[in-house]
């Protein structure tokens, strides 16, 4: 069965530095794939390649078996890809609710200038309110739906980014270090949300994380990168036991 999302031998170079070296991984539909590795290992760069913000020097990105390496980020969004960012990329002056509204509307291709000029373009589509409320509930953001995003603390901001991604009704979400900057309670909340996403909405997740425990607990499959190359790939148990991973990532085995 073809994977929902596949990365094939992708390499990226910055000048003389190899940020990514022939990296390959797969995300199956409805499954969680984890990507871990030390800082500077190239994880965010990989995300940029997968989401279309950067072209790889070599390699391909495939979705449903089709080559999307040359597709724009917008085209990939239409195919059902969404992502969050390691450095929060919220729409500062929009409220939380408006983030979801704009995501929903873009998904359903609602942007007609003529109507907008006449003041009719701010009317919600049928079903929009329900969809947006649903996502707010899922992420527990209902109480701050009216707050401007720039006023939010970082933990809540991360949840808003996830909510925004979910609101596009994607088939796969790329999550770039979502637990970064979160305390213990917030991380648990996040883990619960991600679990629900996978369970209730059958959304595939590609999860890049620093927090190894979080990844190992959620993921069906884990890939480990170091210095831009894959050094291990397998189930969480495999990875826990892998010597190379322990050496590279965790230091010498305790």
């Amino acid at each position: 069965m073809t994977a929902l999302l596949a990365v094939e031998e992708v390499s990226v170079r910055f000048g003389g530095v190899h940020a990514l070296r022939s990296v390959s991984l797969e995300v199956a539909a409805g499954r969680v794939a984890g990507l871990i590795g030390p800082n500077g290992a190239g994880k965010s760069t990989l995300f940029d390649v997968v989401s279309g913000l950067r072209a790889p020097a070599t390699g391909r990105v495939l979705m449903d078996g089709r080559d999307i390496t040359g597709s724009s980020p917008q085209a990939r969004a239409r195919l059902g890809m969404a992502r969050t960012f390691q450095r929060l990329e919220l729409f500062g002056e929009l409220t939380v609710r408006q983030h979801l509204v704009v995501a929903h509307r873009v998904r359903h291709r609602q942007a007609r200038l003529a109507l907008d000029l006449l003041g009719l373009g701010s009317r919600p589509r049928p079903g929009e309110d329900d969809a947006v409320d649903g996502v707010l509930d899922l992420l527990g953001l209902g109480s701050i739906a009216g707050a401007p995003a720039r006023a939010l603390p970082i933990g809540t901001g991360r949840l808003v980014e996830v909510a925004r991604a979910v609101a596009t009704e994607p088939r796969v979400i790329l999550l770039d270090e979502p637990s970064s900057g979160l305390d213990g309670a917030e991380t648990e909340r996040l883990a619960a949300v991600l679990g629900r996403l996978r369970a209730e909405r059958a959304v595939a997740l590609l999860l890049v994380e620093h927090n190894v425990d979080l990844v190992l607990s959620l993921a069906d499959r884990v890939t480990v990168v170091d210095f831009g190359a894959v050094i291990a790939d397998g189930t969480p148990d495999d990875i826990r036991a892998d010597q190379a991973v322990q050496r590279a990532y965790l230091g010498a085995a305790p």
Binding site: G119, L120, S122, R123
Partner: protein, 436 residues
């Protein structure tokens, strides 16, 4: 949605009140009119070409009992002025204000207008037609001046407005056609025929025949008064005159004196005559660069720039300057007075003298209207009737009604000989009107 948002509500309120107020303010028929009456004859913007638009004009008496116009009080007559005081054209116009002030000083000192003293309010139009228009409105509606002196190349900006308000205007035409089309405008040499397509004077052709020029290079600035000046001259070089235009440039930006390409082209064209229409700094710079490049010209004709400072420029020897008044070097009576009343350090040149003469004309107009009760309508009427007007000894007599709408035929020429201006041809040099 419209009504639910606050801005929407405000916008609706705004529109509603505006519509109501607009309804109250719209013009139903005639709107604001000025206090003074319109001049008795108005040639209008599409002037009649036939001779004698003023044939039926008769001398008018001052109103009795006296009813004064705005700008005139028992002790004062306010006169507005419009000239480019800033911008690249300022060098050619601003000094005129000194001439006006000098003439006013003389009039005030010698009580020429009885108990009333002249007050001068010069304003800047920065050689911009829109500004010219705004400033004219300011003078008439805010400052309430009696009359306006226009010494600007953009007087079209306000010409119609001042005409419609019945404001007497004196000043320097600078080639703007309105001076020969609107009856309230007075200048001592009309710039252009009311119908330039069919009537003009061949003066330049005759001049060139006299001095021996046959191949002409025309160099003008990119601004329209400059271009139309040279193009009018170009039109007179019809086949049969033996004169041809071998090079024409109308691209020079205002103020620019980079003539290297033009000098080269003039040289290559084999021209023996140069006629220019730019400001005097540019004209003289061009002639200077031409002579340095070794270009030999039989004649160089300048429309302006008659100023002693020009004599120091190396290549100026032999240049011809066309003047609208008797050259200073011929000692006309008007010049003696001008020299006496100008401040010691002020320049005595074409521009300041024209300021003086424009003021002179206005003062004559006020006298014609009656010093006891000068009014706009009577001034415009009576001044037009003046025959044998010499600007108090500045030029050969002209009829202000006669010359109206016809391009002036006669010009005074001086030539630079041994670093001095020498009047040529023993008086004014006249062409003949030619019909197409």
């Amino acid at each position: 949605m419209l009504r639910r948002t606050p801005s929407g509500r405000l916008a609706v309120a705004l529109i509603a009140s505006a519509v109501v107020l607009a309804g109250c303010s719209n013009d139903k028929g005639s709107s604001t009119t000025s206090a003074s009456t319109n001049p008795p004859t108005s040639v209008g913007s599409s002037a009649a070409a036939a001779a004698g638009p003023f044939d039926n004009l008769k001398h008018m008496d001052a109103p009795n009992p006296c009813k004064l116009d705005p700008g005139v009080s028992a002790t004062e007559i306010k006169v507005g002025g419009i000239a480019p005081e800033t911008g690249p054209q300022a060098v050619s116009f601003k000094p005129a204000e000194d001439g006006v002030k000098a003439r006013f000083a003389k009039a005030n000192s010698e009580n020429e207008l009885g108990a009333r003293k002249l007050t001068y309010l010069p304003k800047d139009d920065a050689s911009d037609a829109a500004r010219n228009s705004e400033v004219a409105r300011q003078l008439v509606e805010s400052d309430n001046v009696f009359s306006v002196m226009e010494i600007s190349d953009k007087s079209t900006g306000s010409a119609q407005y001042l005409h419609d308000k019945g404001i007497p205007v004196t000043g320097w035409h600078v080639g703007v056609p309105a001076w020969g089309q609107l009856a309230n405008m007075f200048t001592f040499r009309q710039p252009a025929s009311a119908t330039p397509q069919s009537e003009y004077t061949d003066r330049t052709v005759q001049l060139l025949h006299k001095i021996g020029g046959t191949k002409v290079a025309l160099v003008a600035g990119v601004n329209q008064s400059s271009v139309s000046y040279v193009e009018r001259i170009e039109k007179t070089f019809k086949p049969g005159t033996g004169i041809s235009v071998v090079y024409k440039s109308t691209d020079t930006q205002p103020g620019s004196t980079e003539f290297t390409p033009i000098v080269q082209r003039v040289k290559e064209s084999g021209a023996d005559t140069l006629i220019t229409g730019m400001d005097f700094l540019q004209n003289t710079a061009l002639s200077d660069q031409l002579s340095r490049a070794g270009v030999k010209l039989a004649a160089v004709v300048f429309p302006g720039g008659y100023d002693k400072r020009v004599l120091k420029i190396a290549g100026i020897e032999g240049a011809l300057f066309g003047l609208e008044f008797i050259p200073f070097e011929s000692n006309p009576p008007a010049y003696a007075e001008f020299d006496k009343w100008m401040p010691k350090d002020a320049a005595r040149n074409q521009v300041t003298y024209i300021g003086w003469l424009s003021a002179e004309m206005l003062i004559r107009g006020i006298k014609e209207a009656g010093v006891d009760c000068p009014t706009r309508a009577v001034l415009i009427n009576n001044l037009r009737l003046v025959k044998g007007y010499t600007g108090n000894g500045a030029f050969d007599p002209i009829d202000l009604a006669d010359g109206f709408g016809h391009e002036f035929k006669c010009v005074y020429y001086v030539k630079v000989v041994n670093a001095a201006f020498v009047p040529q041809f023993g008086g004014q040099f006249c062409g003949t009107p030619v019909k197409l």
